[in-house]
């Protein structure tokens, strides 16, 4: 088995979830490299677009931000925010979109906090804010979430609900006036969580090689179903070679 980092495992776990027919809405950082990896490995026809207005970006180099000039090259069109959020809110195109982004806190229904820890008006810690993730998660057909596996990040109630997941469970999105869709996958540095079809609650879907489900549970404040956990397939030589040589040769993210 080749040697790999947990970041590489996370990126590939997300890439494997992207399908050839997907339109991928990318956040900053890990999301971008996962979308690029999918295009090189398993979903060559997937379309990458950014909230900033770059539609079908070719990404010859890894961008640092969704506003990076690197997202403007070889696109189908270069537009602006109104165009991209229009694609998401549009009932014909929105459901084809898979959103990928990270968060600081998550609850069992996949609701996210990217705004602050503690009181909103006088927070203990302030983060950048919801940006376009809230809009994307509201309208996209499905979403993939990157998290660091830490106890304080998997909580019963997020301090600030920046981005909606399944809201309060079954029927939650419908009641909130949101289209179908919702989070399907949470990828951490220890494994992959998914959401139960019925209850919409998070459960452990797979653990990375050498990690036990109970170890993941210990890194969460919420208690979730660990009984269905399988082992995630480790990265292959080919996947790693692409990631290291083609996608992130400067090791900016991996």
């Amino acid at each position: 088995m080749p040697e790999y980092s947990l970041r590489e495992m996370m990126i590939l776990a997300a890439a494997r979830e992207i399908r050839d027919e997907d339109i991928v809405f990318c956040g900053t950082g890990m999301s971008m490299i996962a979308a690029m990896a999918a295009k090189h490995i398993n979903a060559p026809h997937s379309i990458i677009f950014f909230e900033t207005g770059g539609i079908d970006s070719q990404l010859l180099e890894l961008p640092f931000s969704v506003g990076d000039p690197r997202v403007m090259v070889g696109t189908s069109i270069n537009a602006g925010l109104a165009e991209s959020f229009g694609i998401l809110q549009n009932p014909f195109t929105g459901p084809k979109v898979v959103g990928i982004f990270g968060a600081a806190q998550i609850d069992r229904y996949g609701n996210l906090n990217t705004t602050c820890i503690g009181d909103y008006w006088r927070p203990k810690a302030r983060f950048p804010g919801c940006g376009g993730a809230c809009d994307a998660a509201s309208y996209a057909g499905r979403t993939i979430i990157f998290m660091q596996q830490e106890k304080r990040k998997f909580v019963e109630r997020v301090d600030y609900l920046s981005t909606p997941g399944w809201i309060l469970g079954p029927g939650g999105r419908e009641e909130a006036g949101l289209p179908e869709g919702g989070p399907t996958m949470v990828i951490t540095d220890m494994g992959v969580m998914r959401f139960d079809e019925e209850s919409k609650e998070m459960y452990i879907h797979s653990t990375y090689p050498g990690i036990r489900p109970q170890q993941i549970q210990e890194q969460m404040e919420i208690e979730i179903d660990v009984s269905r956990a399988m082992e995630e397939k480790p990265p292959t030589e080919e996947e790693l070679a692409l990631l290291r040589e083609r996608i992130d040769p400067q090791r900016l993210i991996i």
Partner: protein, 337 residues
């Protein structure tokens, strides 16, 4: 070159020349207490030269509007020019992990009033303002704290006529049928006193050509009473009107045109230069501490009289290192660590 067609008797050359220097543009169109919107996105096309000049002129109590903003926003907050911000994202991505350094510090320290929106909401708010509408509808975001938690309380909203009485509203959809989409969220328009943007090309009259992504610059520009545009290049009117389908803002909406090459440094300007990783890393080092942040301002903002002097400080070598490849629009292989 052949002149573009025009109606006989109407010359496009007799409109006011709007070109002025940096200091005059800010002096004339930005005043203490103004509501200011800033164009650009995180690490690209921030109107840095304009922001530096606002700081140099010591403007105070600005009410600032952005969607996802980075360096200019962070500096204006850090330098104490603004006491209220409306935003969706504050940060320069990898160059400020966890959020814009001075932005984060100001909020955590209770030094500034702030209100959060989503990127789409901010875009729709500028769009409403640009079209003279009081609001724009957006498909539900009502189960989020973005909807539920107001940054500005009712008292302040009552007292300050420039802030809408409500952050947002949920209303009945008058076109609802069969119980579907019965409610819709409305976000209020923004009409800033002044918008500042940095673009690639403008002519002396003010016709604007943005290359690459426009972000929400066009809506922000049109929503404002006054518009200051700084640019990499001044282009002849005949030339910019040769390909008008590449232009975004008509000249009569522009109040000041300021020629400032590298006017977005250290952020990127597509087709001209990349972002400057070394300068961003320097800022990352100096911005967290009040003392070193002050040193940063003294050196790069107060210590220079003009943007030319600022660029001399950055150095010719550095500027040539980030110069864009004309085909790609950025600098391929730039060391970005």
């Amino acid at each position: 070159m052949q002149s573009p067609p025009r109606v006989a008797g109407q010359s496009i050359m007799n409109v006011d020349d709007k070109v002025m220097d940096l200091s005059k543009a800010i002096h004339r169109f930005v005043h203490d207490g103004d509501h200011v919107s800033i164009g650009g996105f995180t690490i690209t096309r921030n109107p840095m030269a304009l922001a530096y000049e606002i700081i140099r002129q010591g403007k105070k109590n600005l009410h600032v509007y952005v969607h996802s903003h980075g360096q200019a926003f962070d500096l204006l907050i850090g330098a104490g020019c603004t006491d209220a911000i409306e935003l969706s994202y504050g940060g320069t991505a990898r160059f400020s992990p966890g959020g814009g350094i001075r932005f984060k510090k100001a909020i955590e320290g209770g030094k500034i009033r702030f209100e959060d929106y989503t990127n789409f909401q901010m875009t729709l708010r500028f769009m409403a303002g640009s079209m003279g509408l009081p609001f724009m509808p957006i498909r539900s975001l009502r189960e989020t704290d973005v909807f539920k938690k107001w940054g500005f309380d009712e008292k302040l909203r009552k007292k300050n006529a420039r802030i809408p009485p409500k952050k947002m509203a949920m209303v009945d959809n008058p076109f609802a049928r069969d119980g579907r989409e019965e409610k819709i969220v409305l976000v209020p328009a923004i009409n800033p006193d002044v918008t500042i943007i940095h673009v690639q090309q403008v002519d002396r009259q003010g016709t604007v050509r943005i290359k690459g992504l426009t972000y929400t610059d066009v809506e922000q520009a049109k929503a404002a009473k006054y518009l200051i545009v700084s640019c990499e290049e001044l282009v002849d009117t005949e030339v910019i009107r040769e390909n008008p389908d590449q232009n975004q803002i008509p000249f009569f909406m522009v109040d000041a045109v300021v020629l400032v090459p590298y006017g977005a440094h250290p952020t990127a300007c597509y087709g001209y230069y990349d972002y400057d990783p070394l300068h961003f890393n320097l800022y990352k080092e100096m911005a967290p501490d009040d003392g070193t942040f002050r040193q940063y301002l003294d050196e790069y903002v107060f210590g220079v009289k003009s943007h030319e002097e600022y660029l001399e400080k950055i150095g010719k070598d550095r500027l040539s290192q980030i110069r864009a490849d004309p085909r790609l629009g950025y600098r391929p292989g730039l060391d970005r660590r």
